[in-house]
């Protein structure tokens, strides 16, 4: 399949190197390009060896939270009366993120192999790839790849002539961002409303169908075959300490060459924008960057001179998150950005808990009013205050995801909100207290 954007010579293509090859999704192409080599290796390893290799790689979850993958794999209980399962999170709905789509579109077998490695490591016999409903075409690609893998003996019974057996299926979502949250995803997988579960227990102990479940993002699973091929340490060395390897970063917004690019963790953000992305478009100046999907607080231009790894971005007050990097030029209207982000979370709030359900609604209404030119000065503080009141109080992290960017925008671009209010002819003057 044709590529949506040209690769850059500055990339380090470890998991995306098959993108753009002829028939890249076919098993033949895969086999001709290191495919299922890691599986062959792993079949001769103990589960502990596999997990240790993943631990050594310093791979961290690519779904958003960045949890160390090897550690997660070791949480799945060795002995279990119940069957164990693999679940791939291909719900990819975090605004700014469009990489899992490519990983399935161009290289579905890499994902299958990643699942097999996970299954070997934890002792799972069955798995599902939960694909968001909008990615209907990927279900066909994935189903076809799965069928090929069965035909070639990489799925099904006695894989590679051993007593290891594994079945893999696709499962479609039906339009709900919240189903990307792992416990809501599991509910959805079970045919229910996508409402998160009370945790603990975590999926590793009680996940799909109340059985121990290894749940990871598409990119996380897709990274494991390379790790086993090249060795955990070698993979880790590609990145920086504590953030091993490479990851796909989705560049969007006001740049000349938006696209999905694979770079080592720790790659400088400004270099990424300027050299890989060809700089801010139309010769304009950079205003701000959302570094890891719309849930991550935005960084002002002057805060962007940092390496892209989990810890550096956290230190700058934001998150590497899902790798959705959105670039904004100097003309960007921050009130409109705040409003659009809140509209999204309000639309996607599952409604289970009060602070998120009511908070996003109230905030959306206020931001809409300010943006429509009917704002009052007190609204600006109230917006920040309400977002703060949602933080850390909701049932799942969606509430935080809605609050964090709002708090950051109001704090960093308060002047723009004030300008909106100043344009309201009916804005009440600030009340002065007469003591």
């Amino acid at each position: 399949m044709k590529l949506f954007n040209e690769p850059s010579p500055l990339e380090t293509r470890i998991i995306s190197f098959r993108f753009g090859l002829e028939n890249s999704a076919s098993i033949d192409t895969y086999l001709a390009n290191d495919g299922y080599q890691a599986l062959r290796k792993a079949l001769a390893m103990t589960p502990d060896d596999i997990i240790n290799e993943v631990k050594a790689s310093n791979l961290r979850g690519r779904g958003g939270a960045g949890f160390p993958t090897g550690m997660k794999w070791s949480f799945v209980p060795r002995a279990s009366e119940k069957p164990k399962y693999i679940v791939v999170n291909a719900d990819e709905s975090e605004p700014g993120t469009c990489k899992d789509r490519l990983l399935i579109q161009h290289d579905p077998h890499q994902l299958i192999e990643g699942c097999l490695l996970g299954a070997l490591a934890v002792g799972a016999k069955k798995g599902w790839v939960y694909i968001r409903g909008e990615y209907n075409y990927l279900i066909h690609i994935m189903d076809k790849a799965i069928a090929e893998a069965y035909k070639h003996g990489y799925l099904g019974k006695n894989i590679g002539g051993t007593d290891f057996s594994f079945d893999l299926y696709t499962h479609t979502g039906a339009g709900a961002y919240e189903c990307g949250e792992e416990s809501a995803l599991l509910e959805s997988l079970e045919g229910k409303r996508g409402v998160p579960r009370i945790r603990p227990p975590f999926p590793a102990v009680s996940g799909a169908f109340q059985s121990p479940t290894l749940l990871n993002n598409v990119e996380t699973f897709s990274s494991v075959p390379a790790i086993l091929r090249m060795g955990g340490q070698a993979y880790a060395d590609l990145g920086v300490p504590k953030s091993g390897g490479t990851r796909l970063v989705c560049m969007s917004g006001h740049v000349n060459k938006p696209g999905v690019y694979e770079v080592p963790l720790g790659f400088p953000m400004m270099k990424f924008i300027n050299e890989i992305g060809g700089g801010v478009w139309k010769g304009r100046a950079l205003k701000a960057v959302i570094p890891g999907g719309s849930s991550s607080p935005l960084l002002k231009a002057e805060e962007c001179d940092i390496p892209m790894d989990y810890d550096s971005i956290a230190k700058a007050g934001s998150m590497l998150g899902s790798g959705g990097l959105m670039v904004m030029d100097e003309t960007t209207d921050m009130v409109k950005v705040a409003l659009r982000i809140m509209r999204f979370y309000q639309h996607e709030s599952c409604g289970w808990c009060i602070p998120c359900r009511e908070g996003t609604t109230w905030l959306k209404k206020m931001l809409q009013r300010v943006s429509d030119g009917h704002g009052q000065t007190r609204d600006i503080d109230l917006i920040g205050d309400l977002a703060q009141n949602m933080m850390g109080r909701t049932f799942c992290p969606l509430g935080d995801a809605a609050a964090m960017p709002t708090i950051a925008i109001v704090k960093k671009y308060r002047n723009e909100f004030e300008e909106y209010v100043a344009r309201n002819p009916f804005a009440a003057p600030e009340l002065v207290s007469i003591a």
């Binding site: 975090e94 605004p95 409303r193 938006p258």
Partner: protein, 158 residues
Amino acid sequence: MTFSPELEAKFADLITHYPEGRQRAALIPMLMFGQEEVGSITNEFMNEVARRLGLTPMQVDEVVGYYSMLHKKPMGKYHVQVCTNVACMLRGGAELYDHACHKLGLGHKEVSADGLVSLEEVECMGACSWAPAVQVNFDFHHEVTADQLDTILEGLKK
């Protein structure tokens, strides 16, 4: 209620994907695939799925109401979805949506009188790096300009 043999086969296969006794898991895929054939999530369809999975119709209703891609009212034969989320907005998604509204004379989730086209302003659909994006049914269109959208819309045939 009867379905095409292909859909029946798909349903039969789906049921086998999940652990014994947990066939409810097939609910959302059945609704999604069935909707393509039935046109929308009708009461009759919900009751039929409920019967097959051993659920009450209300249990199916609870799920249908939750997911934004399950429509109780039929959408057009061509469901045009324009993303206006941040990445698309930064590259003209909102203007593109307005353009579509004017061009089609439709608003959010409205269907043309002849049932051919419907319009929806959607949330991020995973095309951010190739924004602004439009989906017609399940087909993606990337980096869509107003002119290109016109061409796409004009190409929607009965």
